[in-house]
């Protein structure tokens, strides 16, 4: 015989061992990374932990008494699962994000992480679920007892009350406790996942389905001849009432059943565990929501036939709750009976295991640990906290099962399985307002939940739990019939006289009323704390996020990643990041981004927005962090706005700084600052500079005035309008110490005045003007210092007027930056101004200030220094004896002070050489030698600047002979404008520039008509960048030709025609119009070498002087001439000639053929001769010797009385 106790126990234990093996295998697979439960079907099957032993046995019992009404419990879950995407997905996502691992945790987390609520939910769940667990124990132990009495068919009532130690229920409870502990608390998992458990549940779900299906088929088709037969016989036997709701169940109760089942499928702790906590992938839900209902449909389709069959075949002989088992037993189908027993054991075991694990998690995490932590128990300081938690859980499991057993033993089992189950359903339904309300209603508060839950729970206990105690004799029956203490109104099942409802509907009505009522009312009255509000928003809005399931496990697409990067880095930046990725890049934007790529993107992004932000953003994108998408969007928006703002500012700064400093002019630079900042940054800008800065000097402390404060001059004013009553340009402003300007000067920091109206310091500078400025609409100011090299040049004031926002703190740095840049430009301009001024001053000091008096030529000149600095151009007009004049024009290479200084040296040298009166080529030779020597010295001293390369032109014009000798050293040939209007460039041999050496210079000599204009110039006049030199020469020729003009007019005309717009080189121009000394002003005598001739010449000279009106000079002139002639006769050779020139001076010249130069000596007292030249030197203004082609000339000049300058 199969159905012996030993066999039954053996097979049962063997089956439990098999479940354990399945679980073990599943966990091994999970550890190996090939999870068995990461499968939608396994997930759907694990949900069938809903089908407990009650489903196997109790449904039939229920159907046998109330007919088809039992189905309500099964339609509910289907409806709820249809809403799954609205409710379940939301809960799953919240739990995942918040690491919520139990129902109690969820409620606590939703309402501001309240430990009190978590504990309360745990208590309610444990109390509410205990009857349910007892129901499983009862089912398992009863069926065991019935089965082992085979072939006798026993009803549970006949089993009687066994002594405690002989009670199967106790051993079942202990066995299952051990099993559960082994299953669920071997180790801790932070996600509270139990892969093995889920696999075992999925496995046993098949067992129980097949078992019940087998019994159903056996009853319907073996014991009866199909459905038709069963139902026909039932109708005939008067069981037709079971086919309707009417007469068995009120519609109200039916609806309540549906609703209760809807809630229970979510809120039962074990369902929460498998549906939410054990969920691996959100997408599994999609199969679960139709596969699970399909399972239920299959599972229940035979319930009614079995119930009817049992009633027909067994009737009262067996408890309807056991028909599923007793029918096969009655038919002698031992194997089937054993199979269905195993199915029931399986269902009960699965339910108890999952339920107690879920409850123990709640007890340890939400009840015991918070208490321990709050009490600062020494237990929590143990090293082995995990062991402590596991210990608490194991104890909780044993405790809960023993409680279940106690309930079972105390209530005895007078009631049907189904009604006990409904008690638990009603208990967990109390969580509905807190959880579902919390999901959809932000305003639900902790206090609302607390009040609602407590009230609902109390109402549940009073109207359902206590009556179940009363029915089982634990409380007097009068408690039900007459109410406690005989208070009729408080009868638990007709509370406040509410009648006409079955007990479940009655209890549900009252508990729902107080629960929902309390929750809503208190929530509306009490203000939620900040933490609560934050949590509420997070929970309620979780589905508002635009994320799909893909984002779950750090998954995102390449496209999405790239888009995110673009938001922060711009298109190019994003492409750079992608290009820099070393791994292979998926082709399509739809492709999933590898974790490597995501990491790469984050690393790159963190360079831009900081590590924390990058982490947040990427986490948000891949959906791993608890952050709401609208927050992310906001963050991204803020960040990109910020980036955009910074980009705009950089752009502005770039534009502004490139617009400032285009010239080297202080005032102009200040104006550029005002133009750059208006209107993009400020409406008006004013610039005040220290006085010395405007002059180009170093700014010193002289800006400060006695008594503190600062005095500065307004250098620039600019703005969107012109008529602002600011201090006007050039005004000297005294800033009082309390004014923003003075404070900026003192601190060196930019100062923000967001509201000028509130700045007494600013107004104090000029009360009336301040009022006018305010009235004009200007409201806010930033004063920024203009610092350069540690000194302050002045301040820039940025103003904003009506129509613009006031300046903010953020603008301060931008203003300071802009001002700092402008200050550098200002300082450059200032220093340039200074150096330029110095060079120009030097050059001017070296150039002739006024030309010397001479009558040989009319002279006009122009000197124009180059804009970028002074150059080395020079010119000179040197009067030479004998009514002659030397014209010099030279050009030193380069610009600046060095060129100016070199020019000064060369000019002095030319001056000195000219006093020796050599011909031009000789003079240039001396000069060339000088330059070569100087450069050699300079090179020896290590200097790199040289003079070599300087050019020079030297011309001597004799106004008596009209001859002009010219030589040049690399200098442009002069132009000659004849009096008749023709112009030629004189063909003077070019010669090499000075310092090169080599060939000697050559002079040409030409005879100029009176009134010829000799035009000397430097290359700056005719050379132009990008223009042939011939064009300049032609232009010059055209300008000079034509009407005879004075030198001054000529200079003007030439510059008008030839002055370039941008003068890159300096220009020197010298125009000399020749004069001729009239014949009446010249007197010549040939003197024969005879002392008597001296006398004759003296007489002639005297007569001529009288003729010229120079009688006063007659004596001295006679004396001079007789001395010179005597000398010439004594030392000289050849014919002697005497010439008198009456010009500005009276010049006496004595020619002879000797080349011996006389020299002045101091004669001794007793010397007879040797006094002549001494005498001459005493009598004349100037005397000297010069050499001619065929001899020498000794000349002496005397001032003509009445002539200015003499």
């Amino acid at each position: 015989m199969l159905l012996r106790t030993g066999v039954i126990v053996g097979i049962s234990v063997g089956y439990l061992g098999l479940l354990f093996a399945v679980a073990f295998y599943a966990e091994r697979r999970a550890d190996a990374g090939r999870s068995l439960i990461n499968n939608a079907t396994v997930y759907a099957l694990s949900l069938t932990v809903y089908e407990t032993a009650w489903a196997l046995y109790g449904n039939v019992g229920d159907a046998a008494t109330t007919g088809i009404g039992f189905l309500g419990i099964y339609l509910g879950p289907t409806l709820m699962f249809a809403l799954g995407y609205l409710v379940l997905r939301r809960i799953i996502r919240i739990s995942r994000r918040n690491r919520v691992t139990s129902l109690a945790d969820f409620v606590s987390a939703r309402y501001g992480k309240s430990a009190l609520l978590g504990g309360l939910v745990t208590v309610i769940a444990v109390v509410g679920i205990v009857p349910y667990i007892s129901l499983q124990l009862k089912a398992v132990s009863n069926t065991f007892e019935i089965l082992r009495r085979y072939p006798e068919i026993t009803s549970p009532a006949q089993l009687g009350h066994a002594p405690l130690l002989e009670d199967t229920g106790l051993y079942v409870a202990l066995l299952l406790a051990a099993f559960t502990i082994l299953f669920g608390t071997r180790h801790l998992d932070t996600a509270e996942r139990h892969e093995g458990l889920v696999a075992a549940v999925a496995f046993e779900s098949v067992v129980k389905l097949v078992a019940l299906f087998a019994v159903g088929v056996s009853v319907t088709f073996w014991m009866f001849h199909g459905f038709d037969d069963v139902f026909t016989q039932a109708t005939n036997a008067g069981l037709g009432r079971l086919f309707t709701l009417q007469g068995n169940l009120s519609y109200g109760t039916w609806v309540w059943l549906v609703v209760l089942a809807m809630l229970s499928i979510v809120l039962l702790p074990r369902q929460w565990q498998v549906t939410i906590v054990e969920n691996v992938d959100e997408r599994h839900l999609k199969r679960g929501i139709w596969l699970f209902p399909l399972y239920q449909l299959t599972n229940t389709v035979f319930v009614l036939p079995i119930a009817v069959g049992g009633l027909l075949l067994l009737g009262k002989a067996a408890d309807p709750d056991t028909y599923v088992l007793t029918l096969p037993m009655a038919e002698g189908q031992q194997a089937l009976a054993l199979f269905i027993f195993i199915g029931g054991l399986s269902a009960g075991t699965a339910m108890i295991t999952v339920e107690t694990i879920a409850l123990s998690t709640m007890v340890s995490n939400s009840l015991v640990m918070p208490l321990l932590l709050r009490g600062k128990s020494r237990l929590t300081h143990r090293d082995d906290a995990a062991g402590l938690v596991l210990g608490i859980r194991r104890a909780a499991i044993v405790l809960i099962l023993l409680l279940g057993y106690a309930y079972f033993r105390l209530t005895g089992g007078g009631r049907g399985l189904a009604s006990i189950g409904l008690v638990s359903f009603a208990a967990v339904a109390q969580f509905a307002p807190a959880i579902l309300g919390g999901l959809f209603w932000k305003n639900g508060t902790r206090w609302g939940v607390l009040v609602g839950l407590v009230a609902g729970f109390v109402m549940w206990a009073y109207t359902l739990l206590l009556p179940s105690f009363a029915e089982s004799g634990l409380l007097p029956v009068s408690f039900l019939d007459e109410g406690p203490f005989g208070i009729w109104l408080l009868r638990p099942q007709q509370l406040f006289g509410l009648t006409g409802l079955d007990p479940v509907s009655h209890a549900m009505f009252w508990s729902a009323l107080v629960n929902i009522g309390g929750y809503v009312t208190v929530s509306l009255v009490v203000r939620p704390s900040a933490a609560e509000r934050a949590q509420a928003v997070q929970f309620v809005d979780i589905l508002a996020e635009p994320v799909g399931e893909r984002r779950w496990q750090a998954r995102t697409t390449v496209g999405a990643l790239q888009m995110m990067l673009e938001r922060f880095l711009g298109r190019e930046g994003a492409e750079r990041v992608v290009r820099s990725y070393s791994g292979t890049m998926p082709e399509s934007p739809e492709a999933a981004a590898s974790p490597d790529l995501i990491h790469h993107a984050e690393a790159q992004l963190s360079g831009s927005v900081g590590a924390a932000s990058a982490r947040l953003v990427v986490d948000a994108l891949v959906g791993e962090e608890q952050i709401r998408p609208d927050e992310v969007m906001e963050m991204i928006g803020e960040a990109s706005q910020r980036v955009e703002l910074i980009r705009q500012r950089l752009e502005f700064l770039y534009d502004a700084t490139s617009a400032i400093g285009t010239t080297l002019d202080v005032t102009h630079t200040a104006e550029e600052l005002t133009q750059a900042a208006v209107p993009r940054f400020a409406d008006y800008v004013t610039v005040d500079l220290a006085e010395p800065v405007l002059r180009g000097d170093e700014p010193g402390m002289n800006g400060s005035v006695s008594g503190g404060g600062t005095r500065m001059r307004r250098a620039a004013v600019g703005g969107i309008r012109e008529d602002v009553p600011f201090f006007s340009l050039g005004e000297l402003i005294t800033f009082v110490p309390s004014s923003p300007t003075a404070r900026t000067v003192e601190s060196g920091q930019a100062i923000l005045v967001p509201r000028l109206r509130d700045s007494p310091g600013w107004q104090e500078v000029d009360q009336a003007r301040a009022q006018r400025i305010l009235d004009f609409g200007i409201h806010s100011l930033i004063t920024a210092p203009l610092p350069a090299r540690g000194v302050l040049l002045g301040v820039a004031n940025f103003w904003r007027a009506d129509g613009s926002d006031p300046f903010e703190q953020d603008d301060l740095s931008l203003a300071a930056e802009l001002a700092a840049h402008a200050a550098v430009s200002l300082d450059n301009a200032r220093r340039y101004t200074r150096e330029h001024g110095m060079a120009v001053a030097l050059q001017r000091s070296l150039l002739p200030r006024a030309l010397p008096e001479q009558n040989a030529v009319d002279v006009a000149y122009r000197y124009l220094p180059a804009q970028e600095g002074v150059g080395g151009d020079w010119f000179d007009v040197i009067p030479l004896p004998g009514a002659r004049v030397a014209l010099v024009m030279g050009d030193v290479v380069g610009h600046g002070l060095h060129a100016a200084a070199t020019m000064g040296r060369l000019r002095t040298a030319v001056h000195n050489f000219s006093s020796l009166d050599p011909p031009p080529d000789e003079l240039l030779g001396h000069l060339d030698e000088l330059v070569t020597l100087t450069d050699q010295e300079a090179a020896a001293a290590g200097s790199e600047t040289t003079i070599t390369g300087a050019t020079c032109l030297y011309a001597i014009y004799d106004s008596v002979s009209r001859s002009c000798a010219i030589a040049r050293a690399g200098h442009p040939a002069p132009a000659l404008a004849h009096p008749d209007g023709t112009v030629e460039f004189l063909d003077v041999p070019s010669g090499l520039p000075l310092g090169i050496g080599g060939l000697p210079f050559e002079s040409i000599e030409l005879r100029l008509p009176e009134g010829s204009r000799l035009v000397l110039f430097t290359d700056g006049l005719i050379e132009r960048r990008g223009q042939d030199i011939d064009i300049g020469l032609r232009l010059l020729r055209e300008t000079l030709s034509g009407a005879d003009q004075s030198p001054e007019q000529t200079c003007d005309a030439v510059l008008d025609a030839l002055l370039p717009e941008v003068q890159s080189d300096d220009i020197a121009l010298l125009v000399a119009r020749t004069r001729v000394l009239g014949a009446g002003q010249i007197a010549e005598w040939d003197v024969e070498s005879d002392p008597a001739a001296v006398h004759r010449v003296r007489a002639a000279v005297s007569a001529r002087l009288v003729e010229w009106g120079l009688e006063s000079l007659a004596d001295t002139t006679e004396l001079i001439l007789s001395e010179l002639i005597t000398n010439a006769m004594r030392y000289g050779v050849g014919p002697i000639k005497v010439r008198l020139l009456h010009d500005r001076l009276l010049t006496c010249e004595v020619y002879d053929r000797s080349l011996t130069s006389p020299h002045l000596r101091y004669a001794a007292t007793m010397d007879e001769g040797g006094r002549g030249l001494f005498l001459v030197a005493q009598l004349t203004a100037r005397w000297g010797t010069r050499y001619t082609e065929d001899g020498k000339v000794i000349w002496a000049e005397q001032a003509v009385p009445g002539t200015p300058g003499s």
Partner: protein, 68 residues
């Protein structure tokens, strides 16, 4: 973003199925079939409830499978 719209649409359709199911499973529609008559040898309400149930499951399965 399309994904989220898809999900929202899915949730909406499923909620509609739930509403339909609830409507069919409660009076007054339910009452119309709450008779002792039998059809094809089966009780009318038995047939009705299982038919409603099967249709609901079928609708859910179709809707879910069509959503990507």
């Amino acid at each position: 973003m399309a994904e989220s719209r898809d999900n929202g649409q899915l949730a909406g359709r499923l909620a509609a199925v739930a509403a339909l199911g609830f409507l069919l499973a409660i009076p007054p529609l339910l009452t119309q079939f709450d008779r002792r008559d039998r059809i094809f040898g089966l009780p009318v309400l038995y047939v009705y409830l299982y038919l409603v149930w099967a249709v609901l499951i079928g609708l859910i399965a179709v809707i879910v499978s069509r959503s990507r």
